[in-house]
Symmetry: C2
Subunit: 336 residues, 2 copies
């Protein structure tokens, strides 16, 4: 079984100070594996990188249509947002429109927002963060919407709740694999495991969706477009998903997950990408996905966002450049 | 050349979600390498883990004695503190006593304190952090004290400044290696490279110091004791160095460094330890050093701090246990 491969290096002065090894698969909807590094069969928990899969039942069930969800709301249902007002206001309005009280209904738990303004406002007023600030509150709003549509009970994160059973079924269908099980995510929802290849295959299917096929095809197409059309809702100012999707001008949708998972959906090439840095460090997954996107031709390697994630520079507390990121070996040289 | 070895695993439910590989050396002052994992010859930047080496010239030059530095000040000179009032007040008083204005003289740069109270106070008053809040301000106070004693110029972080030349000489002597060069640290001081073995050898010398030998021996002994006697000054509430030194009741001194370096000085066994997690993740270095300390017999493996760093548990936003850390393979089974 192949080991993880060194994909990203962290340099300080003349020394390679740290490295990030990982597994990655570039999947063509028409041709299967187009490239891979490390072990494509490595079993991973996709974490938040699979939120667009978790949102499929929301659309396919008819819930999104029944409640008139907007494209922006669909983007937010795929988000790991940073709790800025633009995100929390939308969650409050969304659930309010359904007659659902966010703080009693949500099961994601409270989280201090990463957005500096939102965080500062809470600290200055001695206010504790709420569940709407949780980076997953959009996904959970989608879960609650589906639960209401199905007339299901309130414990929507239980693995045997109809919402999670629907998520599991969609997950296994789009990854093309029986999941070997799940872990409980930071937001308390079950997170189903798959191989890196399975996750890339799923993203290839999203990439190949035209919006003119069956219900699955149309749902995939809507979610991919919603993410690309609303980069700031999917993450937030200063976050890599937002910066990269903006830099690509809608040509691809990307999503990060905790413990250094990252996916990309590239419709114009009918390609999906999935990768996992084995040590769980986000700077590694950001560098790796950014490099792949440049080599797929949908992101200009000279764009400031692309340079930042693949090369740094690393600056210290006096703003002195102390180091940089470098792409490693054969991964750096790869072209498709 | 040996590769890094998997030392620590991060589990979520039934899945090994991430791993941390590293290099580690346990060095006996009398016997040399007692145990090693990964590549003992791996060249690393020790970062803040070598602050007690950087403080040697402060004592050996006579500066500490000339200015009447206390044991607490010596501990702070070895610190990566979290900018709590107990740290910043001491820096202000220390430099004030020397007639030095901290904010014009320091070259470490400003840093938002990690201490929750200090951070909240700054945010609530719209106050920017200062250089005294920088986690390295104690080390830099030591540098400034030495510079004053030597009558040297103000740019004390320049690699050819007398302070840094003295640090380099001490570093090469105690590691027993010619340094292959330096990187610029987060605090703008040069940080000299050595092998993992070199760093462990240096810590073995600290461990073997009795306080009854030459100037080097006495300086090493004082610094080791100062750290062990003032755990909170070396890091701060909630920080691993502080928690581990408290848990050991002064039986060993430990120090972390950025990018997942960790050292330990165990006087009663005349043993020094150095390790580096290759991906730079602190949770990995904390777990690894904690495990080694338990196996060296100076830390009770059942102590809550020891359990926390080696096993977790990992909890989510609703305080549900979602995973745990595990020590890996032969490293887990190691005894000395």
């Amino acid at each position: 079984m192949a080991e993880a491969e060194t994909l990203v290096e962290v340099w300080r002065g003349p020394f390679r100070e740290s490295i990030h090894r990982g597994h990655a698969v570039v999947w063509g909807a028409d041709d299967g594996v187009l490239a891979s590094w490390g072990n494509p069969d490595a079993v991973i928990l996709p974490r938040s990188s699979c939120k667009m899969i978790q949102a499929l039942p929301l659309i396919e069930s008819g819930a999104a249509e029944a409640f008139g969800l907007s494209e922006a709301q669909l983007a937010l249902s795929c988000a790991s947002h940073n709790g800025a007002a633009i995100h929390t206001n939308m969650v409050t309005e969304w659930l309010g429109g359904l007659g659902i009280d966010p703080e009693t209904a949500l099961r994601c738990g409270p989280q201090m927002p990463g957005d500096p303004d939102a965080r500062t406002a809470l600290i200055k007023t001695d206010t504790s963060p709420c569940q709407i600030h949780n980076n997953c509150s959009g996904k959970h709003s989608g879960f609650l919407t589906l639960a209401k549509h199905l007339g299901a009970g309130p414990e929507y994160v239980d693995p045997d709740h109809p919402v999670q059973l629907a998520v599991k079924a969609a997950f296994e269908e789009v990854t093309g694999e029986d999941t070997p099980g799940f872990g409980i995510d930071g937001c308390s929802a079950p997170n189903f495991a798959t191989s890196v290849t399975g996750l890339a295959r799923a993203m290839g299917r999203f990439a190949a969706a035209t919006g003119e096929g069956d219900a699955r095809d149309r749902a995939m197409h809507r979610l991919t477009r919603a993410m690309a059309a609303h980069p700031v809702l999917v993450a937030g100012e200063g976050k890599s998903c937002t910066a990269l999707m903006r830099a690509m001008g809608g040509r691809a949708s990307v999503k990060t997950g905790a413990e250094a998972v990252f996916i990309a959906i590239v419709p114009e090439r009918r390609i999906g990408v999935a990768l996992k840095i084995e040590d769980g460090t986000t700077r590694g997954s950001e560098a790796a996905i950014t490099h792949i996107l440049t080599r797929l031709g949908v992101l200009d390697a000279h764009h400031p966002a692309a340079r930042t994630y693949t090369h740094g520079p690393i600056r210290n507390r006096r703003d002195i450049v102390t180091g940089e990121y470098r792409l490693s070996g054969s991964f750096a040289d790869w072209t498709l």
